[in-house]
Symmetry: C2
Subunit: 239 residues, 2 copies
């Protein structure tokens, strides 16, 4: 159980060239010239987080713009009563917080490393003035936020009209497209994506196993019939 402040991340040095390479693969910066990329890369510094480490916590004011350089980060939102949904699974090149840098105010999300992870930070104000100077960045951010809103609304509709099993299929197919055949997630993590309980996820997975669509072991699921999966889950999420 990762207590707040338990794993704050250790500063770590990564090459300027490596940071440039990272930002060239970051969608938010797509459309920028090399010089601009270098400018923002020059302001960035990195931290390393162990599995389970907390990159930021809900209700903390936003100080940095974060981009994952290596590893995998789960961004999730948790209710008072304890239910939690994960909202983004960010790997290399994906930012963790697009809104925070603009408002500075805390939001109800927290970010946790799902494996050994390196996250690159840029000071909020630096990122802000850089974004404002470079319109492309703004447009990219707004279009990503638009997708996020669409996705969230889609999930609401799915909660209304789709049974657990179909939501899980959608989750699995989305993850398959992003991470490939072998998905290193626990049933609990999948449940947080599908908006259901661990038990229901386990039961649904049992059925999918019987139908030969997946195999599963402790902390991992393998897609054996992607084509069938695709067929069954017509749409995908944005995760």
């Amino acid at each position: 159980m990762s207590l707040q402040g338990a794993n704050l991340g250790k500063p770590i040095n990564i090459d300027f060239a490596e940071r440039v390479d990272l930002f060239k693969n970051t969608f938010v910066f797509e459309g920028l010239g090399d010089d601009d990329i270098k400018e923002i890369a020059g302001m960035a510094f990195a931290k390393r987080f162990a599995k389970g480490g907390s990159i930021f916590y809900q209700d903390e004011p936003c100080e940095f713009f974060h981009v994952v350089a290596r590893g995998l980060v789960k961004v999730s939102i948790c209710s008072f009563s304890g239910s939690r949904i994960t909202y983004l699974l960010a790997d290399r090149g994906e930012p963790l917080n697009l809104v925070g840098p603009f408002t500075g105010s805390p939001r109800f999300i927290s970010a946790e490393a799902l494996e050994e992870t390196i996250v690159v930070h840029v000071n909020r104000e630096d990122f802000l003035s850089f974004a404002i100077k470079n319109h492309v960045v703004i447009i990219n951010i707004i279009s990503i936020l638009g997708s996020a809103i669409d996705s969230a609304n889609g999930r609401i509709i799915d909660m209304i009209e789709k049974p657990v099993e179909q939501r899980l299929l959608k989750v699995l197919y989305t993850l398959y497209e992003k991470f490939g055949n072998t998905l290193k997630f626990t049933s609990n993590e999948l449940a947080e994506l599908a908006g259901t309980t661990t038990e229901s996820t386990l039961r649904a997975m049992g059925r999918l196993r019987k139908r030969g669509i997946i195999t599963s072991g402790r902390g991992e699921v393998s897609i054996t019939r992607p084509a069938k999966l695709k067929l069954l889950s017509d749409e995908t999420l944005w995760v």
Copy 2:
């Protein structure tokens, strides 16, 4: 039943001064100087829509930035199977589409006038270059989008952990804060906000009526005990 293109809205003239006044009350433009407000107001023109009229329809590419000048507009998203959730109830000063102008691409939302309504339009490109020139606008937009994302995620969690009645309480309290004691909405419209069916909404309303929290008539609900309502629905939505 409003068929596509049935009510496209009639061009209508409204004073320059009136447009300026509108934009001064539009949160997206908060922080702008008078001259800037006048500049964007100069580019705006208005249309009138009858009750039930369609301001824009899903899958249409975005051509304009829209702001409600008078009346009330329901922005909603509809699934293939027909379930629909309403995502925004916009009255005077509220924009209908913040993302569209930046991407230009169609999104899965549609906007319908709930009463006699006047909507002010600005050409997408005009609005875009204006926003980019004026950083405050960008920051305002991004912070609104952030709220929208938070709200949508909150609704997902509510779908998981709150029963219909509590979701309805939240909807009613939110509407009460925005529109006052008398809410001119049908049970079906409330259902689309609470993420449930018309029948379940009607049943829940019956219970609230028995508890003396509301009274209701055809197409309208009145809040008789706001304090109790507030107490029961600890949080509010962003609608």
